[in-house]
Symmetry: D2
Subunit: 144 residues, 4 copies
């Protein structure tokens, strides 16, 4: 499989996952781009995502980052699950902020993978750094 | 302040935070009990929390755990923010599962704290282990 | 296998590992007790473990905690490797402090495990909290 | 202060720390280069660093990474301490491997910092990914 074909398969995996991904859709998350080991997703902070300090609940920054991680680590047409994740909160998000989460593969070996995700505002300011560890199952994302 | 008074203040802080915590309310999270350094919160997995693998999105397990952490570390009437969190996913949650997250303080020193949160189903089965680090601001949760 | 037999096997695994564990021996680490999923190890902070701030180098607190983790997760006579660990430094160690690290299993499922290790001084003061994730190989610690 | 002057100060801080850093010296760690927010350090795996599986003890990979992190976050002539670190072990190190750890600053804000460290063999193969969080004290590394 060429790199181009691999990236097309990655994109097709993402589309198939997204169609069933009610949680991502309900949070208003949209796919920006997905290729092998990489994913870029967008979400706008809504009023119902604000916590008691009137900033975006850390859980929604995590949700966005974790979703980008999921699309990146499922991009090889092998179902992959999150085992462990950590997140560093840098700056608070505000209502109506347009966020973008970019997942990059740091390593892939055997069935496990390590991915770094950065959550930024549209002006480039970083809100959170996320690192996720995945494990692949013996199951295809897209069954023919 | 006696232990009883401290726990009453912790409970009052939680009530004040929850009233403004639109994100927790929108996710259907409810307070079970809060005392100094501890919090127990409940959430039921809804259809709009399911991901592309048809299980509860890890982001919602994190959201619940992170919220329990927030109520535990804000229980001293000092605003505390999450700096860094990690989560280990043990078993998937299913639609209609009644979840409970229990936050316990592992240490508190100066302005920083370390909290362990366990997310369980109502039958006691563990879905996730979470560890959060907080930092206190020089600001009261409840201003008189 | 009874619980007693399992704990005797755990102890035998630890002895077999320790005999080959040059790094632990060179750091002066000694086994206190090992049973299934648990390990307790001791180390005294030496002058050659102090860093530029004249306190015990964090790397040696980690080394002790990581070793306790290793003996706990190898206690089932299956070789297990550390995948990922995190450590929170609470208080500095000083020269001649007698340290004890206690590893407790938080979960074990399939081939993976989660262990919490606490590093304390002999007076009970906590110096560090450590959490480790392991994966088992298809290989025995003690071959007959 | 110009960038060049800042990097010269960073290098002077590193030299002052290293002179007192008995643990790093005893482990054979040497400074390769230090500038503001960055550090590159070297260590060769010795026989007394091997564990019971006959590979480099994870504690020594951590020690090297943690030391690189320390020199990077102390490079502003403000004493900085490690609060929390995590490490992902990718491949085992062998006796006589020449290792290099490179610390890069991911963010710096107020008194806290986030640093990523990669531990590689001299052929570029990655052995470990490390992420450390630091907090600055109100104290200079080099007092005039």
């Amino acid at each position: 499989m060429s790199d181009t074909e691999a990236d097309e398969l990655a994109s097709a995996c993402a589309d198939a996952m997204y169609e069933r991904d009610v949680a991502a859709q309900a949070a208003g998350i949209i796919l920006d781009s997905v290729r092998c080991g990489h994913a870029s997703l967008k979400m706008t902070v809504r009023a119902d995502m604000l916590n008691g300090h009137d900033v975006c609940h850390g859980g929604y920054l995590f949700l966005l980052a974790d979703t980008a991680f999921a699309y990146a680590c499922n991009s090889y047409n092998r179902v992959a699950l999150a085992q462990n994740c950590d997140i560093d909160f840098v700056r608070p998000g505000k209502e109506a902020d347009d966020l973008i989460a970019t997942a990059e593969e740091r390593r892939k070996g055997g069935r496990t993978g390590l991915y770094d995700v950065t959550v930024r505002k549209s002006d480039g300011e970083v809100l959170a750094h996320f690192r996720g560890r995945s494990v692949q199952l013996n199951e295809a994302v897209i069954q023919d």
